[in-house]
């Protein structure tokens, strides 16, 4: 800890602690002359207020918690990037917690954050989460929360999402357009609204194209990329008619690539792949991957901005502040595009 505190400053200046405190906080009650003296010595001695004393007294920590499933993932790391930037601009600190897509961990983390350690929470829900009781507690405690990307719809607060239904529809439509008829759908979060919306887009696109939906083509991924690759591979081996893969998350698109490699399916000749992804080098893959690119950085920025606006103005976060950003379909070689 920085060893110098208010008391020492006060003694050195022959002033009271309260005067020094007010001088440093630029209170109107303190004369300009005193303020100057105090601030001079404070900078000379490198005084920094003890954040814990300050937080205790003020009942606010100038800290937000970010809860995400993973960090080794381009989407989430870009989002963190945006969050951290806004946080710094507003003088806030960022605590980070990873759930590893594990519901129990998410519960524990949320509970631990309910003790005043953070002034607000930004969260992207774990793929396993079905119950929203732990989030309800946050509302009870009046702890401002903003969801991003992976939303819990039962909790009424703001959320930043992308046009998941549209994206799912467009992705599927794109595959259909390219001649696919037996399209596998890979998802991680089937019961999360994000997964359902993407899937609904998939279903509606199929229906609009008069292509029958086959539940057998639905694959729910789990943990571990090897496991997921095996799942896809198995299905590919069982069903030679499959000619398209729509991966609702990046890791599953990769699993799709590997599974195709393993089973000798050529992309895009035999099978076409499209996936949600924020890979900067999706165009350098072999073949380059057609993607739905989410504005991950902007999502982080927006979510954080809404949270901080609420915190600064001491207003509750309203559902009406939610935003839906647009994702972008980038056609590349994996669906027979250029490149």
């Amino acid at each position: 800890m920085s060893s110098v505190n208010l008391k020492q400053l006060a003694q050195a200046l022959d002033l009271s602690v309260s005067t020094v405190s007010r001088a440093l906080n630029d209170s109107y009650e303190i004369s300009a002359a005193t303020k100057e003296k105090v601030q001079l010595l404070a900078t000379q001695l490198g005084y920094q207020p003890n954040p814990y004393a300050s937080s205790l007294r003020r009942q606010q920590s100038k800290t937000v918690g970010v809860i995400i499933p993973e960090v080794a993932n381009n989407f989430f790391s870009l989002a963190i990037n945006g969050i951290e930037e806004v946080a710094r601009q507003n003088g806030y600190h960022v605590l980070i917690y990873l759930t590893h897509e594990n519901f129990a961990q998410e519960q524990t983390i949320v509970q631990h954050l309910a003790n005043g350690r953070v002034d607000g929470i930004l969260i992207s829900v774990s793929g396993e989460t079905q119950d929203a009781a732990h989030f309800a507690k946050l509302r009870e405690l009046n702890l401002p929360t903003v969801f991003f990307d992976r939303v819990c719809e039962q909790t009424d607060t703001a959320s930043i999402t992308t046009d998941d239904y549209d994206s799912g529809y467009r992705a599927t439509h794109h595959l259909l357009e390219r001649g696919c008829r037996r399209i596998m759908h890979l998802t991680l979060a089937q019961h999360l609204s994000i997964g359902q919306k993407r899937m609904q887009g998939y279903l509606d696109a199929l229906r609009d194209a008069d292509v029958a939906f086959d539940p057998a083509l639905l694959v729910r991924g789990g943990h571990g990329s090897d496991h997921n690759t095996a799942l896809v591979q198995q299905l590919l081996e069982q069903d030679p008619s499959i000619d398209g893969i729509f991966a609702a998350v990046e890791s599953l698109a990769i699993a799709g690539y590997r599974a195709c490699q393993a089973t000798g399916r050529r992309i895009p000749a035999d099978i076409k792949i499209i996936g949600f992804s924020n890979l900067e080098m999706a165009d350098l893959l072999n073949p380059s991957l057609t993607t739905i690119r989410q504005p991950a950085y902007a999502i982080g920025r927006e979510a954080a901005t809404i949270l901080f606006q609420g915190l600064m103005k001491n207003r509750p976060i309203l559902t009406s502040q939610s935003q839906e950003l647009k994702s972008e379909l980038v056609v590349r070689a994996s669906t027979g595009g250029l490149g």
Copy 2:
């Protein structure tokens, strides 16, 4: 904040605050019966100690700061993964700060962490950093610090690195073996020890192979992938004799790919590329990328472990606790390997 505090518990139980506190901390001074009663009510009411009051009194925050250049980068995000895991196991919280390779930001962040907000710091130095004065202050304040990957050698504390010299040597040797003679070296942190070691490996490998070193083949990357691509592209256009690229960081390997694309150089026929990288899908690139893969997750874990050992036992972090982990050369198509 969780609204229930010690005083309320004490009143409800007709006990004193100190007794309740001790009961919850399992003090030997409290009878088993009382402990049970207290703990029962505490869990019933969902009591959670106020972390700021506790930190203030105990003079420790149970929080560590992690300072890294970027998070949207597989190496750092994997390292964070390791750090967060160890932190959670030890009951610590993780504050995250990004420097964006900016020295001034690094200084500011380090200064702000010198106020007792964190009990320790894990840091990977920004590429711009040359001065170590801000780190010296940390030692003065006795704030335990562990460097990982990007080390500041002037500061005497533990650091977790990889065998950068060897890796640089092996990477270069590999290119030479594959017939390259005009090897470009791309680096971000030329004055950091990590950059120097990798470059020294490069130089020594050249010397051992009796290949002349041409300073013109040294490219120091900057910010922005477009900028870096342009740099490489320019050099490639100027000098058609270049037949190899050794990228000391992942982003520069990507820049190399793009530059080759732009200039029509075929990989690996015309030019071969090797790069430090933790891309999970390096094998899916076109062509698959020969990499030096660092054990990023393990680096994070080790660095955090050393820090927490020091914190828990209240011992200073010693330089002798430093570790050097081994990187792995994975040969792929970009240097003419299989795949």
